[in-house]
């Protein structure tokens, strides 16, 4: 695996896409009707024909693409950095200045030539490239012809003209070398990182059969109408709007902005009283409830009251198998059978006979996914039955009523005084401590469970 460096003068497939787009911009800029107005630009005492000012470039980009001046400046800078436009004043500095500094289109777009040298035969790509290049060359030739014509006409005229040509050529060369041999400290724009080999030619690819198979499968699948799917996005965004700190801010304040970690403290995994937004979120979907440690705990309490807690215990045990160590699978499956599936088990779960039979059969040769069907059955049972009832229960309603709505922290009276940023214990540290404590506790015969505190 080689990392392609600038020295090779090469460029990559990934750059082809953006070179094409940059050319589009340049071609548009050179359009005789809608493009940039070129005129003679004064450089000290010399007059350079067919040039444009930095200011004009920015104005044109701003107008054409309907973007801000800041963005035009940025885009224009990219065009200069890649050599499509070069500066006549201070040619060592490939930067677009938003003032009267003169610039010119590079007559021989260097990057395009570099690219051309390295294009491997890619069928349609070559054709497309040829089209683009010939279009660009037509335009450039048009400009260049004009310059040459003018030069010839005024050949007898002063040294000025020749001096202008000399300056132009010098600047062109400077730009070329700056791009190809950037001085230290300057970004190398032709550096594209790790080379991604063109795999169409050099690697064993899949049999077309795979594609045919995939297409056939895809043709048979059920699809949902766009109107229904897309409404789903609207609903989701609306529901979660108040929970999106970047969109709506967060209470009491965004720690990154205020340097105050209260928001995190209030929303830690286990707190005495949760925030209102958090409790509300439990009602959005069953997944939200289960994903929140406190929510899951509350739900467990509710299920205990309903004498159906074994469902949640079962689900948790199945999750443990799915995501746990491979070496413990057999042992865990046995435990599940003993506690949840065996006749007369302490926490017997009510699964339909078909699923039960399939699962019992699978247990004979336990693997990571052997509990999947049973787990899904119980999951949907809880989701359809217990979960909606929980949301209507007093337990949930009281939780919601008690929940905190933090006060918004007003901006500090002394905004320029930076708050001290407090560090927090690393999860790695609390885990090590917990393990140590447990080790000690086990020795003493007691059982302590240190939760993580963050």
């Amino acid at each position: 695996m080689t990392i392609n460096t600038l020295a090779k003068g090469g460029c990559h497939r990934e750059q082809m896409a953006c070179f094409r787009k940059m050319e589009k911009v340049i071609v548009a800029m050179q359009d005789p009707d809608m493009g940039m107005k070129m005129r003679n630009q004064r450089l000290l005492i010399t007059v350079i024909p067919h040039a444009m000012t930095g200011h004009d470039i920015i104005a044109w980009l701003t107008h054409k693409y309907r973007i801000s001046e800041e963005e035009s400046l940025h885009l224009g800078n990219m065009l200069v950095k890649y050599g499509y436009i070069y500066p006549l004043k201070e040619p060592r500095c490939l930067v677009l200045r938003p003032d009267e500094s003169p610039y010119r289109f590079q007559v021989r777009p260097l990057t395009i030539y570099l690219a051309k040298k390295n294009i491997r035969k890619q069928g349609e790509l070559m054709e497309y490239e040829k089209e683009r290049y010939s279009l660009l060359h037509k335009r450039i030739n048009h400009t260049w012809d004009f310059v040459v014509m003018q030069a010839r006409e005024q050949l007898r005229a002063s040294k000025q003209r020749r001096k202008a040509d000399r300056i132009v050529l010098e600047c062109q060369e400077q730009a070329y070398w700056l791009i190809n041999r950037p001085p230290p400290g300057v970004n190398n724009v032709l550096d594209t990182g790790l080379e991604r080999p063109n795999n169409f030619s050099c690697r064993v690819t899949l049999v077309s059969d795979f594609i045919i198979e995939a297409c056939r499968k895809a043709l048979g699948r059920n699809r949902v109408k766009s109107s229904i799917c897309l409404e789903g996005f609207l609903k989701y965004s609306e529901q979660y709007l108040n929970h999106d700190p970047i969109m709506q801010g967060c209470l009491p304040s965004n720690p990154w902005i205020s340097d105050d970690t209260a928001h995190w403290t209030m929303n830690a995994e286990i707190v005495p009283v949760p925030t209102r937004l958090r409790v509300e979120r439990w009602s959005f979907s069953f997944m939200e409830l289960l994903n929140d440690a406190m929510g899951r705990r509350e739900f467990m309490t509710y299920l205990e009251k309903e004498f159906s807690a074994e469902n949640l215990y079962f689900w948790q045990a199945c999750e443990d198998i799915r995501h746990g160590e491979s070496s413990k699978i057999v042992e865990k499956v046995e435990d599940i059978y003993k506690n949840f599936l065996a006749p007369g088990a302490a926490r017997w779960v009510n699964i339909d006979s078909k699923t039960m039979d399939k699962t019992l059969e699978g247990i004979k040769r336990p693997h990571r996914f052997v509990m999947d069907d049973a787990q899904m059955h119980i999951y949907f049972l809880m989701k359809k039955d217990s979960y909606p009832r929980y949301l209507k229960s007093d337990l949930y309603k009281n939780m919601l009523a008690k929940a905190i709505v933090p006060q918004e922290t007003k901006k500090s009276v002394f905004p320029f005084m930076r708050r001290q940023r407090h560090s927090s214990p690393s999860p790695a540290q609390t885990a090590t401590q917990a393990a140590e404590e447990e080790g000690l506790a086990k020795g003493a015969g007691a059982n302590s469970a240190a939760g993580s505190h963050f």
Partner: protein, 376 residues
């Protein structure tokens, strides 16, 4: 643009449609004929598939979104700058504690930071350069990383100052080409990887055993993301073959495939509900694919945006899509309306990686300018 089809190198892999006869065994199959036949068949099927997909496409996202309120002025600034890498930052990931991050760079350094205080807490030097992938374990007690070494290794994070992190390193994944991305699944026990060798794979951390491999990309796989769905069994990957594939983790099958980008897909990220995912590509566009409608439903692009997207992520509600671009900027898109809400400047070289924090309070970018920035 005609769809590319993928050809077989060795003719012995060609499936012959008719049952083999003794004559055929000794006869050489005319390669061009078989290839042409397969090409026609796959192209016919592909256009049929597009027809089917189009039938149910009765409205565009931005049309549906007309009734939604537009977004106002958007102000996001750099709130922290993390300096410490000596070379291009290639990847980063958040810890579940919402403030710590791990980052990796071209010179082989992997650093764990408390981004809030900007303190560096751990640093490891990998034995290879170009560490393109790194991930934080859900427990917060370990990190995984890899790159040109073709491996994914797990380092347990020890707070003992005297302990050398590299000593406890565990080699988990082995590919035959560079590691482009890695992610822990719901626990510290399994890792999902993608590689330049064109495959993705699921590994058991404890034993280093390969649990499942995923074949179907015709070129380097550059990115992956796990689905936040209820059944938690799928993930999406994007590659240099311009395809985004959705996989079943249990069976290794590719369940859905999308091919609308015009260049390499550098980043894929699920919409928070799990019903869709976004992608970012060298073709300078981001796209949204709906899994139930089985099609692309939005393109986020602008004529003035010329450079490729390296990394994408959604805000918590999924209303905003953040894209890190190769022209050093971050573009913020209104996912529903398809418009560009804001452009953020700050980095001095390409943005190579971008992730929103677990609680959505900020997002972090890593750049070739050697720094990471937290934006809020």
């Amino acid at each position: 643009i005609p769809m590319q089809t993928y050809f077989i190198l060795s003719y012995t892999q060609v499936k012959i449609q008719s049952p083999p006869t003794p004559e055929m065994a000794t006869q050489e199959v005319p390669l061009n004929e078989t290839l042409a036949h397969l090409k026609t068949e796959s192209e016919t099927l592909k256009s049929k598939l597009e027809e089917e997909r189009a039938k149910l496409h009765d409205v565009e996202l931005h049309q549906v979104a007309e009734k939604v309120e537009g977004l106002g002025q958007f102000v996001m600034k750099t709130r922290r700058t993390l300096k410490g890498h000596g070379n291009k930052v290639l990847c980063m990931d958040w810890c579940k504690d919402k403030r710590r991050i791990v980052s990796s760079s071209q010179d082989g350094k992997v650093i764990v930071w408390d981004a809030f205080t900007t303190n560096k807490e751990h640093a490891v030097t990998m034995p290879c350069t170009w560490v393109m992938a790194c991930a934080y374990a859900p427990s917060g007690c370990a990190v995984a990383c890899g790159g040109l070494d073709n491996k994914c290794s797990v380092y347990p994070l020890s707070l003992d100052k005297n302990e050398n992190l590299a000593a406890k390193k565990k080699s988990v994944a082995m590919h035959t080409n560079y590691l482009s991305a890695c992610s822990f699944t719901n626990s510290d026990m399994q890792i999902l990887t993608s590689s330049g060798d064109g495959t993705c794979a699921l590994w058991d951390v404890e034993s280093g055993q390969l649990l499942q491999s995923f074949h179907g990309h015709a070129a380097d796989v550059l990115c992956l993301d796990l689905a936040p769905s209820e059944t938690g069994n799928t993930f999406v990957s994007g590659g240099c073959d311009k395809k985004a594939n959705v996989w079943d983790m249990r069976s290794g099958q590719c369940i859905q495939s999308f091919e609308t980008h015009e260049s390499d897909i550098n980043s894929v990220r699920y919409y928070p509900s799990g019903d869709a995912f976004a992608s970012g590509s060298d073709d300078a566009t981001c796209r949204l694919y709906d899994l139930r409608a089985d099609r692309e439903v939005a393109i986020y692009s602008k004529d003035s945006i010329i450079f490729g997207v390296s990394s994408v992520d959604f805000s918590l509600s999924g209303r905003l899509l953040f894209g890190g671009y190769n022209d050093y900027t971050i573009n913020v898109w209104d996912v529903l309306k398809g418009t560009r809400v804001s452009i953020l400047f700050g980095h001095e070289n390409r943005v190579s990686t971008l992730r929103v924090s677990p609680d959505g309070t900020a997002f972090c970018t890593g750049s070739w300018d050697h720094t990471l920035r937290i934006w809020a």
